[in-house]
């Protein structure tokens, strides 16, 4: 079973993503901040990571910077899942090494399609 790590500081948001993805048959692991995301990523080496950008202590940009220097995560699909939707946010995320950018609110069909595409 493909393993997906979801990092988001809001519990309802984590639960939503978990529900959406578990129905599609993925194993979902949750992290409630950047630090835990790094820990779980290193411990479980998930197949895909959905990272919120704005998290306390360690934000999404800090997490991806550390992950991308680790050879184990050089090519892992890491997607920014964020409520920031201003012009230039997507470009900033892609420049920082994110594989994709999904803005909140997510639409179920779009999220499932993007995850399936990245895990092909």
């Amino acid at each position: 079973m493909r393993k997906i790590l979801i990092a988001d500081d809001r519990a309802p948001s984590r639960e939503l993503i978990r529900e959406i993805l578990e129905i599609s048959g993925y194993e979902v692991v949750e992290a409630c901040d950047g630090g835990e995301a790094l820990e779980k990523a290193r411990e479980l080496t998930p197949d895909l990571i959905l990272l919120d950008i704005e998290m306390p202590t360690l934000g999404g940009f800090d997490v991806i910077r550390q992950l991308r220097t680790d050879p184990r995560f050089a090519v892992t699909p890491i997607v920014a899942l964020t409520a920031s939707a201003m012009q230039g946010d997507r470009e900033k995320a892609l420049q920082a090494g994110f594989t994709g950018y999904i803005s909140k609110p997510v639409r179920l069909a779009a999220l499932r399609a993007e995850v399936a595409r990245l895990l092909q």
């Binding site: 409520a83 920031s84 939707a85 909140k104 609110p105 997510v106």
Partner: protein, 446 residues
């Protein structure tokens, strides 16, 4: 004696004068003007040598000159001074003649003046004195006056003399000074105005930045809860956790639709503020207009069909336009979805697209409820909504036409409306084609 040098110069002048009058006489036997002047009273200046007519004339000239004229011998003594010198320096001529020229040189410059004078004697040519320097002369009362002096040597049997023409430039200096003061004042005023303008610009920039930051965080804060509201509503709607009864399904649909509406409002407000801040970028590509129109028609066909509204479109085939494809589709979508909203059942909507004179004209014509004349000007204002739609409620964000108008204008186009209550509305958009000649296939998006 005073005018000894002058007389010598005059010898030549007199010769010329005689030659001239001789020529004149031969030609027209004219009166001898010089002769008539002989009866004039002599000026106070006298010369040691008995003056001829021409000498008298020369003296008149010398006395009438506005510039001070002095002649200085090789020992540095003044040998000639005219009336202007007296006025300029406050000395009488008797006080100047045969006195050292240093009398007229300010104390501080006298030492150098000797050296300069010696240098001049070794190379006597006609030239301005102290070229590029600000020369000062000293009056009898000790006051300094700014002067310009030109020097010219005269050769005599007993040596050189130098004629100095002295111009008092106090008035010009004063005028220059005044001009400089005015210029400085203006420069200072300009600098102050610039500073104020810069301060205001900084304030405007700061306000703009704060506004952008506010919009960004507002957007973020509103999207975060909407994310879970929309998401869970969709999850519930999928009924994977068990079936919903029809009432529950309807409730979930209401939540879902209204939360999507809220999202649309947020997006529209952001769009509008981006457009108004000039931050919305237009990315023009070349595309075939009928293709973009077809895609938009496909999205409104279903709601139109639901109201049995006929949807007709006439679009020139192969009509290419260079514009922001996504934004043009947004314009078309806004106009068409408005038409559907405000057209009653069994009505009709006609879209016509044609090109003329470098422009494409798009008209969306509906048989809807129409817009009263007094409201037609304000429908393009943000948050303005024309009464209720055919469903008897206010629909949409009230931002659609405001955004549409701004998008059209950002493309260099125009939008207008013709309408009458009960007789439908016709919106007409005119857009420049720009590089319509570009091959479609090379540019068609994806």
């Amino acid at each position: 004696m005073t005018y000894r040098g002058v007389s010598q110069k005059l010898t030549t002048l007199v010769d010329y004068a005689h030659m001239a009058s001789a020529e004149k006489g031969a030609a027209s036997s004219g009166t001898d003007n010089l002769g008539s002047e002989e009866t004039r009273p002599r000026p106070a200046t006298t010369s040691a040598i008995s003056p001829s007519l021409s000498e008298q004339r020369f003296e008149d000239l010398l006395e009438a000159a506005p510039d001070g004229i002095i002649e200085v011998d090789q020992d540095g003594n003044i040998q000639l001074a005219n009336a202007a010198v007296e006025r300029m320096f406050g000395y009488t001529r008797a006080e100047l003649l045969n006195r050292p020229v240093d009398l007229l040189v300010p104390q501080a410059s006298r030492g150098m003046h000797h050296t300069h004078r010696a240098a001049y004697w070794s190379h006597p040519v006609t030239r301005p004195m102290g070229s590029g320097l600000e020369l000062l002369a000293e009056r009898k009362d000790g006051k300094s006056i700014p002067v310009e002096i030109s020097l010219s040597p005269t050769h005599y049997k007993d040596g050189f003399r130098v004629t100095a023409i002295i111009r008092d430039i106090s008035a010009r200096r004063a005028a220059d000074q005044k001009l400089r003061e005015i210029q400085e004042l203006h420069t200072r005023q300009l600098a102050t105005a610039n500073e104020q303008l810069e301060a205001r610009n900084r304030e405007v920039e700061r306000a703009n930045r704060l506004k952008s930051e506010f919009l960004a965080s507002m957007s973020h804060e509103l999207r975060t809860p909407l994310h879970t509201i929309i998401g869970f509503a969709e999850l519930l709607g999928e009924q994977l956790e068990g079936p919903l009864n029809s009432k529950q399904q309807r409730f979930v649909e209401h939540i879902h639709r209204d939360s999507l509406h809220l999202l649309e409002l947020i997006n529209d407000i952001l769009d509008l503020s981006k457009i108004e801040a000039g931050h919305l970028e237009i990315h023009p590509t070349a595309f075939e207009f009928s293709m973009a129109l077809g895609e938009v028609l496909a999205t409104v066909r279903h709601p139109a069909l639901a109201k049995s509204i006929s949807l007709e479109s006439v679009c020139e085939n192969g009509l290419n336009i260079e514009a922001d494809r996504v934004r043009i589709k947004e314009v078309l979508y806004n106009l068409l979805s408005n038409a559907v909203k405000f057209t009653p059942e069994h009505g009709a909507i006609r879209v016509k697209v044609g090109a003329a004179a470098g422009h494409v004209e798009i008209s969306v014509d509906d048989s809807g409820i129409g817009i009263p004349a007094e409201e037609q000007a304000s429908i393009f204002d943000a948050f303005h909504q024309v009464g209720a739609t055919t469903r008897g409620v206010r629909e949409g964000t009230g931002l659609g036409l405001a955004i549409t108008k701004r998008l059209v204008e950002q493309h260099g186009g125009k939008i207008s409306v013709e309408s009458a209550p009960g007789r439908g509305s016709k919106f007409t958009v005119t857009l420049p084609l720009r590089n319509a000649a570009v091959k479609v296939k090379d540019f068609e998006e994806r």
